[in-house]
């Protein structure tokens, strides 16, 4: 097993482990830590695909900014250990079959798409995906309008949050 393949399986396993822990663990901070583990593992997977910029942004934005806010809120609210309720009937009779269907569906499509095709190698990934210059060119030329519209949307959301928080105090 070559090093990249080993790294892929190790990080994929870590990501799945983190995702399971996120749900199973009862302390909110531990859940947040598990989510950070998932994000870090995903960042390494991006690195393995040759998308260094996306990997760095993944760490910086998700793990370094958004999750810090999550942890802050949990720490400030001093949220206790979560309580388990009896699972609702909806989850039992509607959720489980749906989840099973989703897993089967995904498995079928994945099996169908890779069957008889070449292995995904680093060279199969288009070079543009990894180049920061190429990425920024696409972002600021081809997709400039959606990009700017999204940033205005985020700004409005931020202002809205400030206004809502102000009204109480």
């Amino acid at each position: 097993m070559s090093v990249p393949v080993f790294m892929f399986f190790a990080c994929a396993a870590l990501a799945v482990l983190g995702a399971v822990l996120l749900i199973v663990v009862r302390e909110p901070i531990h859940s947040a830590l598990a989510l950070i583990l998932v994000m870090a593992a995903l960042a390494v997977l991006y690195l393995l695909l040759g998308a260094e910029f996306i990997a760095a942004v993944q760490l910086m934005v998700y793990a370094g900014a958004i999750m810090v806010l999550f942890v802050f809120v949990i720490m400030l609210l001093n949220a206790g250990v979560e309580e388990r309720t009896n699972k609702s009937l909806m989850a039992k009779y509607l959720g489980l079959p749906l989840a099973g269907f989703l897993v089967l569906d995904l498995a079928w499509w994945i099996a169908k798409s890779t069957a008889g095709k070449a292995e995904l190698t680093a060279s199969a990934v288009p070079a543009q995906a990894s180049s920061t210059i190429e990425l920024s060119r696409m972002l600021f030329k081809q997709y400039l309008f959606p990009f700017e519209a999204t940033s205005i949307l985020i700004l409005i959301a931020m202002l809205g949050a400030v206004v809502l928080a102000r009204r109480d105090s």
Binding site: I29, H30, L33, I36, E52, A56, M60, V68, M75, T132
Partner: protein, 401 residues
């Protein structure tokens, strides 16, 4: 040797990691000595003096003290997170160092030519920021898991400060990235070669002086050093987020803090101060002798000091140190070594000067109040850094037209 030739890349990487780790930890230890000494002299004291000549063995004594103290874990703490926090801080701090190139030279280990950097990536700058942005978890989790008021308040303060100043820290380097058009450390440094008007080195500190000042101030705040060391305001918070930590876990936070100091100084050197480039033009060949002569002079000065001012064991220690300096000086005279260490010498000299400024600021400036800190960061530093980015972008565009 069969194994070594088969896995050459792996072996070379391990050797480089080991050397870097050892050097980083030793330098860390002696940085504490240097800082205490300097702050002492600034405040008309003498600093560490009695453990070894000039207190040279003080770091070793401190290290042993940390090892032998009782390692307390509070029963009401969250044990897993409590142990994870210092580990996270130290690991992330040391990992960022792996991305820093220390010189342009290519050296040969086990027949493998290799560069003076552990991890060679084209997005080095971005990677450093990505890794250091996770560093805030060490502080936040340490305070939370201690289950103590002082720790929690200290960690909230500290992480709020780190998040706030990270914004202006990142913005302050955007000007440099715009000028260079790359995130690659090597290209960033090599773009600063040459001179303006035949005497001023083309270091980016000159066109980006505002950016440099924003960077350095934010960097001091980001590493929680004085005058921004509110997390450790003894009079208010005992010792901030690491109040409940003792022994080796405390030492890990301590080493992480000093390593972060080294990392941000290395970044400042690479981005603004021309990295490993010498300030003198290449045709002045006498500059090749500067490191060797510096080491030899240090050795002679130490010998004189040992001969005239000290006696007993302290004299022997000083003689040993001076012999080390003389030996390294002689080694630096040999032609191959001389060429390899040129870049490293200038790089480390610049990093050392920046760390000197760190200690100087600590010895001179009083601590900020918390509201002053926040308003300074958000209302002054951030707008100035932002204006610098906008102005630089406009000027580059205007220049290119």
């Amino acid at each position: 040797m069969g194994f070594i030739t088969q896995h050459a890349v792996l072996v070379v990487s391990i050797v480089k990691v080991a050397v870097l780790l050892l050097a980083a930890l030793t330098v860390n230890a002696y940085l504490t000595w240097f800082e205490r000494k300097l702050v002492g002299h600034i405040q008309s004291r003498i600093g560490p003096y009695f453990v070894g000549a000039h207190g040279l063995l003080q770091p070793a004594a401190d290290g042993l003290k940390f090892l032998f103290k009782e390692d307390l874990t509070i029963p009401t703490s969250d044990r897993f997170v409590f142990c994870l926090a210092p580990l996270l801080s130290l690991t992330l701090a040391l990992t960022t160092l792996a991305l820093i190139p220390f010189g342009p030279a290519t050296i040969t280990i086990f027949g493998q030519p290799t560069e003076l950097v552990v991890a060679n990536t084209t997005l080095g700058l971005l990677m450093v920021f990505a890794i250091s942005s996770i560093g805030v978890y060490g502080v936040a989790l340490a305070g939370w898991s201690s289950n103590s008021k002082y720790s929690l308040l200290g960690s909230l303060r500290s992480s709020a400060q780190m998040i706030s100043y990270e914004v202006s820290l990142t913005l302050s380097i955007v000007g440099v990235v715009l000028l260079a058009g790359t995130f690659d450390f090597r290209t960033l440094v090599e773009g600063q070669g040459g001179y303006w008007w035949h005497f001023l080195p083309r270091w980016r500190v000159f066109p980006q002086i505002v950016g440099f000042m924003c960077y350095f101030i934010s960097a001091i705040a980001e590493t929680n050093r004085a005058p921004f060391d509110l997390p450790e305001a003894e009079s208010e918070l005992v010792a901030g987020f690491h109040t409940e930590y003792s022994s080796f876990k405390f030492a890990m936070f301590f080493v992480a803090e000093y390593t972060n100091m080294i990392t941000v100084s290395c970044l400042a050197t690479i981005l603004f101060l021309g990295g490993w480039l010498s300030p003198f033009p290449e045709r002045w060949t006498w500059q090749l002798y500067i490191p060797a002569v510096g080491l030899l002079l240090t050795g002679v000065a130490l010998l004189a000091d040992a001969a005239f001012k000290w006696n007993g064991i302290a004299r022997l220690q000083l003689v040993a140190v001076s012999l080390l300096a003389l030996g390294l000086g002689v080694l630096a005279l040999s032609p191959t070594v001389m060429l390899v260490i040129q870049g490293v010498f200038w790089f480390l000299l610049k990093v050392f000067l920046l760390i000197f400024f760190y200690a100087w600021a600590r010895g001179t400036l009083p601590r900020f109040r918390y509201d002053q800190l926040m308003s300074f960061g958000w209302k002054l530093l951030l707008p100035v850094a932002l204006a610098n980015v906008v102005l630089t972008a406009f000027l580059i565009e205007w220049w290119n037209r």
